[in-house]
Symmetry: C2
Subunit: 208 residues, 2 copies
Amino acid sequence: MNQSLNPTLLDNAVAELSRLPGVGRKTALRLALHLLRQDVAVTEALAGALYKMRSEMQYCKRCHNVSESDSCPICSDRRRDGNVVCVVENVKDVMTIESTHEHRGLYHVLGGLVSPIEGIGPQDLEIDSLVERVKSEGVEEVILALSPTMEGDTTNFYIFRKLQDLPVKITMLARGVSVGSDLDYTDELTLGRSIQQRILFSSTFSQS
Amino acid sequence: MNQSLNPTLLDNAVAELSRLPGVGRKTALRLALHLLRQDVAVTEALAGALYKMRSEMQYCKRCHNVSESDSCPICSDRRRDGNVVCVVENVKDVMTIESTHEHRGLYHVLGGLVSPIEGIGPQDLEIDSLVERVKSEGVEEVILALSPTMEGDTTNFYIFRKLQDLPVKITMLARGVSVGSDLDYTDELTLGRSIQQRILFSSTFSQS
């Protein structure tokens, strides 16, 4: 695009917006022009909220979830069961699991998965702090809730090896057919696992 | 989503991001969490660029294009032909037409199209200022480059009526088959117009 056409202010805004994931130059331009058409207060509120979030947001010292103080709302909630810790990849997964209302314990956010291709090793993740936590807090159960991918499985196995000698029960998410999906669309690996790990029909009645 | 899970800072940022066109709550959350993972300088640069753009950007007094001063770079460029004015809907269309390098005149940005459904009348657009400009600047040709939609056609016709008694040539974009497209995929209306308004084969040789 012609330099003389894009005043530097607009150029800068488009360049910064394009750095966001999933936002290309065309989308960035559309967003910038949208903001130009709106009242100045709209942009002030957006810029202010982003800056304030980034500069004031902290991470929980215990579970590494996002928080506005040293201790996140979940860790601070005395009604939650501190004996059960659910291990997740990132902050978004905490929200996803919370939305199921099935986990009443605490969390531990790893901050990623072991991935040799991306150069992420166990030392880059919050694994040592998990082991420390299991020891010092006397955690009874660790639920591994990582994605069912190669990276997730690698990370699961690494954590299992680190925790296996401690007096803690290690569980993982059940793998099986999706609720509401058609068997025709279920891949063979998942279907195979769901047969191997079949459950008693009567056990589905006792769900709370 | 559980209130206790989304600290207010994150909530605010997500809410503001969701107000952008095409950005839903899920995308907004993804963008906010992305910014939280990046260095604080990334968010500072983004928020700063947006705020600076919105607060300092002006509109050209002559053609209503975005500008960093009273007169936009195109109107200030003495090499452009002031006798030919291309009428466009918005700032983005100026950029699109500039990218073709086929227009060497100036622009006039209407700021929208006449649309009774959306309650936009001719008085809401920069049409009077266009008529004024044609009179005072002695413009020789006005190119109507609006979208080939009902709103575009209505606006075209309104402008034509306003300008028809002035000594100015009024032209509009050619309508016909898209370059590189297959005739099978061209709609009948466009194909019909392209036959009615067929051009001399030899005229395509003389293009610069």
